[in-house]
């Protein structure tokens, strides 16, 4: 890891400023049914086709909690190294909006299911610990569509009542870069745990971003603004940068920053005040009388803990020690669980170093080009491992391997079959190579003279000619050795 230092300070007229950021991440729980009803949660279904009388808040309907959603929240909490609360409660958060049929959201205010935890980020200037304040369960709202009609808004309640985990960080983040890494880390942990798919384009992961600024070196927090519902890492970073500069300008002009809710306009690249949210923080929380407290047994938490998969931080350390990967290679490989599984399968059955080179080189390039992810890889881990073994035992050269790999992309078969069918087997017969070397030297006597009189660079020319004669199938090491010998 390089010795780079943290350097995200914004310059104003009157000095440098530090940016303080805290995030409230909303992560949709992966479950079949909703948090308090048995409606489906599938994304992209026909509008209002996954709405029960409970989700539409018809009078007399009662919420019944989905126990799997509770399990998912506890697992996520364990993944965040957090305290799991054996006693938690549900409260009503009251506000009016067209996509909130109940007129309140069932959430957890005073007693969340998960308490304090922490997440470790790998930054260019070292590791950074970000505190988790809490994680609580709540209902998602429906979706309003405003661009279909000049006078009306359309409401789709399919999302209404899907379980959300709100993960609140401490104000520990200090730059857009750290925010990006934090989101990626949370997403990676939840994907390993299979508790949230982390799909930001579909809104399964979004965040409210709290931003304030203070003079570099100051210990006190400035007044913060909350930027609502930002749904991509890039937008979060742009919004933070804009908002921090806006606040610095206000302060330097002698004005005060108002604590308010703002929205990020992605087209204009600016944040602006949401006037309608003036009273928004007056949610008049009170315990939901329809729900009893949620009590968890210690043994239940212990059992879930035992069943947790290996998480990214641990896996990274293991890959570094087991396969001698660099910190960078390990970070890339573990960031996606499916990639790490693929890598381990290739590495264990071939050569760990070549496995990482081929995975991060040719395979990533191919996946990128074809717009696929690793689970849709045209080349299976088994066959990639076999191909690497063919390089290792000298059957093919690294160069020929690229040709074989091209073929495997088209047709995922045993690479030795491709080598056989296409006659790509490397020639390692010293006699045969020697004959060709002799032939090449014979036809290029003038160059041999030049070489012998000191033009060393011509060596590469001879290698190239021999390879050309052998249609690229000569063992490069042997060609080198034999040529060196002959040209002495």
């Amino acid at each position: 890891m390089s010795e780079k230092e943290f350097d995200y300070y914004l310059k104003g007229e009157k000095g440098e400023y530090e940016v303080v950021i805290g995030l409230e991440v909303h992560a949709q729980v992966l479950s079949d049914a909703k948090l308090f009803s048995s409606s489906a949660t599938k994304f992209g279904s026909e509008p209002n086709s996954q709405v029960s009388l409970v989700d539409a808040a018809m009078p007399g309907m009662l919420p019944v909690i989905n126990k799997f959603c509770v399990e998912q929240a506890v697992k996520t909490g364990l993944g965040l190294n957090a305290k799991i609360n054996t006693f938690s409660k549900f409260d009503r958060k009251n506000y009016f909006y067209a996509d909130l049929p109940q007129g309140y959201q069932i959430s957890q205010f005073k007693h969340p299911i998960v308490g304090e935890g922490k997440v470790i980020l790998d930054m260019p200037y070292g590791t950074k610990e970000v505190g988790i304040e809490r994680l609580h369960l709540e209902q998602d709202a429906g979706k309003s569509i405003h661009d279909q009609d000049p006078k009306n808004s359309f409401v789709d309640l399919n999302r209404s009542g899907i379980a959300l985990m709100e993960i609140v960080s401490k104000p520990d983040l200090r730059s857009p870069g750290e925010v990006g890494e934090y989101i990626k880390k949370l997403r990676s942990i939840m994907r390993y745990l299979n508790t949230c798919d982390g799909n930001m384009e579909q809104g399964s992961l979004r965040a409210d971003v709290n931003v304030s600024v203070r003079k570099k070196g100051s210990k006190e927090f400035g007044t913060r603004c909350e930027i609502k519902n930002v749904n991509s890492i890039k937008f979060m970073q742009q919004a933070i940068d804009y908002e921090a500069r806006r606040q610095i300008e206000l302060i330097e002009e002698g004005n005060e920053v108002d604590q308010e809710t703002r929205l990020f306009d992605t087209k204009k690249q600016e944040t602006r005040s949401m006037r309608s949210k003036e009273d928004a923080h007056d949610y008049r929380y009170f315990p939901d009388p329809d729900l009893l407290p949620l009590r968890l047994e210690d043994s239940y938490i212990e059992d879930l803990k035992k069943g947790l998969p290996e998480l990214p931080d641990h896996k990274k350390q293991r890959l570094i020690s087991e396969f001698k990967l660099s910190n960078y290679e390990a970070s890339v490989i573990i960031s996606d669980q499916a990639v790490s599984t693929y890598y381990e399968e290739v590495a264990k059955n071939s050569d760990y170093k070549l496995a990482s080179t081929w995975l991060m080189g040719e395979l990533f390039a191919t996946l990128n080009k074809e717009g696929k992810d690793i689970t849709e890889s045209p080349v299976s881990a088994v066959n990639l491992a076999k191909m690497i073994n063919l390089i290792k035992d000298g059957t093919i050269s690294g160069k020929i391997a690229k040709t074989v790999f091209e073929e495997m992309i088209k047709n995922d078969v045993d690479p030795s079959k491709i080598v056989e069918d296409k006659g790509l087997k490397q020639t390692s017969d010293p006699k045969e190579i020697e004959n060709i070397v002799d032939k090449v030297l014979e036809t290029n006597q003038d160059k041999v003279e030049q070489y012998k009189s000191g033009k060393d660079k011509l060596f590469g020319f001879f290698v190239g000619q021999v390879m050309k004669e052998m249609k690229g199938k000569g063992n490069p090491q042997m060609i080198n050795d034999i040529l060196k010998n002959k040209l002495k």
Partner: protein, 95 residues
């Protein structure tokens, strides 16, 4: 705590209940009387007593993660203020 005219106005706004002068006067009177009644509870000594989350001595009932509800769109959308095959249609709400 005393309920003033401002409190009533604020609560009316938050709960989307239309108010007028007479309504507000009545509310101030009623709500203050209710608060005074409830204030009697302050006489009870509650140190060392944990707040009670519920008076029901029962475990929270839980359901399995199973989808049981099928498409009930027709029944649901009957309640929309305006007719539409796919959506609830409401007066425009936008920032």
């Amino acid at each position: 705590m005393t309920i003033t005219k401002d409190t009533v106005k604020k609560i009316s706004k938050l709960s989307r209940i239309a108010s007028n002068e007479k309504f507000e006067e009545n509310m101030i009177k009623d709500l203050n009387a209710i608060l005074k009644f409830v204030d009697q509870l302050n006489e009870v000594k509650i140190e060392n007593i944990e707040p009670l989350a519920s008076t029901v001595e029962q475990e929270l009932i839980k359901r399995d993660d199973e989808v049981k509800k099928m498409n009930e769109k027709k029944d649901i959308l009957i309640n929309s203020p305006e007719e539409n095959d796919d959506f609830y249609v409401v007066p425009k709400v936008i920032e």
